[in-house]
Symmetry: C2
């Protein structure tokens, strides 16, 4: 196989990239972005070789312990449990949260054979033992599996943490009530908060 | 910068890939496709290092002369002139054409400073001198620049080739006349061909 065909085939491991867009990508790099292609090749080699799970929080990192776990300015009283490293990135990019994380790298799914061991529940218990946070925030996804996982974690650590909370579900900012699905609206109404003073 | 951030940044050289999809790609490779990621890195390094222009037809290849130019079973009597290596791939994948190619790697565009030298017109003349094809097929795109380029090539080589042709423009297979634009329809009508016997 020629070097170009090999590249077109290799590009198809990327999510959402089929033969046609792989071909477009390969030609784009070869004709207009040689430097970028070389840099991408090097970045891939380095990341695939070095990146692993943080020994403390199970997030992705090229170190033994990740940057967030090593950062002494983070708030030890808050521990946020998420399903995936992508959730950590999203919450960090949103800003505002300065606590610690624990990454399950999955959600409970008996059908797929994903149980408590695969999600590192032992490690989560040890982490809570060690960190002694005031509050554990369960930020799993609002799906059936995500809710089941949140429920399981609650059962597991209840009694050992002062407060366990679940992130709010409701109408997203910029969303329109008219086009919001019923389940979300029900959550938004149930989770309503008073503004200003309540009389009486 | 961490290895993951470097990878996310490097992925954005790919066409149509912004920060969000670069992040999704990076995490997909790291969490589910390590082997594929390693292979992609190696394929990129090899292709960026080895692939260059064919000395004969200006197509992309990792050899001095490309596979099509080296293939002795190809038909020397037909030379197809295209704008880019992507066009060669498309025509090869369509099947049916067994002649030779010449790749301009661009189209005449005075505004972008692309003139006859950039398109290898000297090389095209030399190629025609050498190959002595019966017919040169101009398969540049049906755009203003593509038509201007076809016109320029016609002026340049006219008189030295028995036949110069232009690929047909018309309603694409599977297309609907109702939804075909006016320019294409005009071309389709002008380029009509008789079927069966004309009477008289």
């Amino acid at each position: 196989m020629s070097a170009i065909d090999s590249l077109i085939e290799a590009l198809q491991v990327l999510p959402g990239v089929g033969p046609k867009s792989a071909q477009r990508m390969a030609l784009h790099l070869l004709l207009r972005q040689r430097q970028g292609g070389v840099a991408l090749g090097a970045a891939l080699q380095a990341a695939m070789r070095d990146v692993r799970q943080c020994a403390v929080c199970r997030n992705l990192t090229e170190h033994e312990v990740c940057g967030i776990c090593r950062d002494e300015r983070r708030d030890d009283s808050l521990l946020c449990v998420v399903e995936s490293p992508a959730d950590v990135l999203a919450i960090e990019q949103a800003g505002g949260f300065r606590g610690r994380y624990f990454v399950l790298n999955g959600r409970l799914s008996p059908l797929e054979g994903i149980g408590p061991e695969e999600l590192g529940m032992d490690q989560l218990e040890a982490r809570i033992e060690d960190l002694k946070p005031d509050e554990v925030i369960l930020a799993t996804n609002p799906t059936v599996e995500g809710e089941a996982t949140a429920h399981y974690v609650t059962q597991l650590i209840g009694g050992r943490v002062q407060r366990i909370s679940r992130i709010a579900h409701g109408v997203p900012l910029g969303g329109e009530i008219e086009y919001t699905d019923g389940g979300t609206l029900a959550h938004a109404l149930q989770g309503r908060r008073s503004i200003g003073h309540d009389l009486g």
